[in-house]
Symmetry: C2
Subunit: 146 residues, 2 copies
């Protein structure tokens, strides 16, 4: 036994590998100034700046203007995606940052969005995106990276 590991856990470890893909930050901001989040042209400037400065890598992005106000934005990143939906009438922003690889750029982008949007209230959940694969031959097989 290793460090309190139970026999069935050791067995499980032999038959499966676990691959940790990355982090998914799911956040809800309240109390955001509606003027920052009502129109694509205003929000896009903020989001582009945050994505660029945080060290994330954009491969494609789309924006949609809802009427009379409200924005949806999705950035496909080489690291996965960042999406934002806004309800200016409630000062509300729904944010997702899902990145594979290092957590650092995602956490930096999150902090920068708080700095830029200045919500009065923040709810944040952080999930690990990971998956398990079955070893075909031995307990030493590992995925070679993303």
């Amino acid at each position: 036994m290793v460090g309190g590991e139970l026999p069935y856990q050791k067995n499980l470890r032999k038959k499966w590998w676990m691959f940790e893909l990355g982090i998914h930050i799911i956040a809800d901001f309240l109390g955001v100034d509606p003027r920052k989040i009502a129109r694509v042209e205003d929000l896009r400037v903020i989001l582009d700046r945050v994505v660029y400065k945080s060290g994330l890598h954009v491969v494609s992005s789309i924006f949609h203007q809802f009427e009379p106000h409200g924005v949806s934005a999705a950035y496909i990143l080489s690291e996965s995606h960042l999406s934002v939906h806004t309800w200016p009438e409630y000062g509300y922003v729904a944010l997702d940052i899902f990145t594979c690889g290092s957590d650092e750029p995602a956490l930096r982008a999150f902090d920068m969005l708080i700095e830029e949007l200045k919500p009065t209230h923040v709810e944040r959940k952080m999930l690990r995106r990971e998956f398990y694969g079955k070893n075909k031959n031995s307990d030493t097989q590992k995925p070679s990276g993303v």
Copy 2:
């Protein structure tokens, strides 16, 4: 007291309203046939069909082809978004479906994606996206809809 509600809860209910925005399905599929998820042109046909048949409403979509294989896709919906990232080398798909309003179309899209991609293993989390606002005048104030 109502149904076992404690005095401080009643007080909380008076001062704040809660707004339930919708559902966020976060899923990881394993064991998907790599031929279905390696190229944009193949996966897009599946995703377009699922989004259309599930009753979701697309306002914009983007797709990115990673080389030598792997796809990222993001649909901005009038209901929020659906995103997919694939790692064909692991038969792995990372899926997000975030919708406001009724849960039904999101759940239908999720079931249809399982039907189409036939993963051998599925991890699913369902989050409620919701937020709280402070009442200005009384405990009867409610947001008027999204």
